[in-house]
């Protein structure tokens, strides 16, 4: 029997969520993670009352970016001193620090108030699936992935690949090249019988 006292405890409690960032866009995920860190998913939400939850992000090394953003997107930073401006492309930052991209994206998605640093301390990012036991022991629920992860070719079994219907049959003109070690390319055209 759920006592009103217990129901009140459970609404005011702080929950630990798990998010798998494998093959997800960091910017789109950050929008949702920032919402959970502030507590916007709760009916008791208010910006000034600290009702946010913890979020544990795993597989942050395996995020995916849209089209050519790995090359074109840059992170800029100025140290405050003279000649202190630097700009790093996303692929470079990610190869050096695999957790930094999600951290920066979540930070910029939250409003710029004084509680922002406090909420960021409740975000735990791990590059792979290895999480320390004291943190994974607190996790009780999971945030759903935003993007559908497509299935790779090696994840299909050989029977599934063979059973898939074939779309075309070879035409008569097609010449299959027989590759031998000392054969130059031009001899192929002279071969048709």
């Amino acid at each position: 029997m759920a006592h009103n006292r217990v129901v009140q405890w459970s609404t005011m409690s702080r929950i630990w969520w798990l998010y798998d960032a494998k093959y997800q866009c960091p910017f789109r995920s950050a929008r949702i993670i920032a919402g959970y860190l502030q507590g916007q998913h709760k009916p008791i939400y208010h910006a000034l009352s600290d009702v946010g939850d913890h979020v544990v992000v795993i597989n942050s090394r395996h995020i995916a970016m849209r089209e050519e953003l790995w090359r074109t997107f840059t992170f800029s930073y100025h140290t405050g001193y003279a000649k202190g401006f630097s700009r790093t492309p996303a692929w470079r930052l990610h190869s050096m620090e695999p957790t930094m991209m999600i951290e920066k994206a979540v930070y910029s998605n939250m409003p710029g108030f004084l509680l922002r640093r406090k909420y960021m301390r409740r975000l735990h990012i791990y590059p792979d699936e290895e999480v320390p036991p004291e943190i994974i022991g607190n996790v009780c629920d999971q945030i759903q992935q935003i993007q559908k992860v497509p299935k790779r070719l090696d994840e299909y079994t050989a029977e599934e690949i063979q059973a898939f219907p074939k779309l075309f049959d070879w035409s008569e003109e097609y010449v299959i090249e027989n590759i031998s070690a000392d054969k130059p390319k031009d001899t192929v055209k002279a071969a048709k019988k």
Binding site: R66, E67, P89, Y174
Partner: protein
């Protein structure tokens, strides 16, 4: 150019075989080979069989349909030419784009294009390609 349909039941492609008889003489033969999936090709009365293999399906092929894209590729990671598959020019371009996207997304790890010649630019120029990409089609 009208592609000729053979009315015979079996369709052959030509396989080139090269044998060396002596130092000066090379014999080059063309051997007729049947495709391993003869008789299993998708055909029905509802499909418009006059159109090319992709247009007659009337499907929206995306880069995630790896099982379809795989059929139009060689084992080395390159695409089959149009005269082999019978695909129209428009669909060949669509397939090309879809295969490029699938390779950038890391969906076909074994069917990757191989380097043709010596590298002209340093590897660091292309490090961004190691990370997966996704596309909003």
């Amino acid at each position: 150019m009208i592609r000729q349909f053979s009315t015979s039941q079996s369709v052959f492609a030509i396989k080139v075989k090269e044998t060396r008889e002596s130092k000066d003489v090379i014999i080059i033969e063309g051997e007729k080979v049947e495709s391993p999936w003869k008789g299993k090709v998708l055909k029905s009365d509802e499909l418009n069989n006059d159109a090319c293999p992709i247009c007659r399906l009337n499907l929206d092929i995306k880069y995630t349909d790896v099982l379809i894209l795989r059929q139009f590729m060689t084992e080395k990671g390159g695409m089959l030419p149009r005269r082999a598959t019978g695909v129209c020019k428009k669909s060949q371009k669509e397939l090309q784009d879809a295969i490029h996207k699938a390779q950038r997304a890391g969906l076909m790890p074994e069917l990757r294009p191989q380097p043709k010649r010596q590298r002209m630019y340093p590897v660091s120029n292309f490090m961004w390609k190691r990370f997966p990409a996704f596309y909003d089609d």
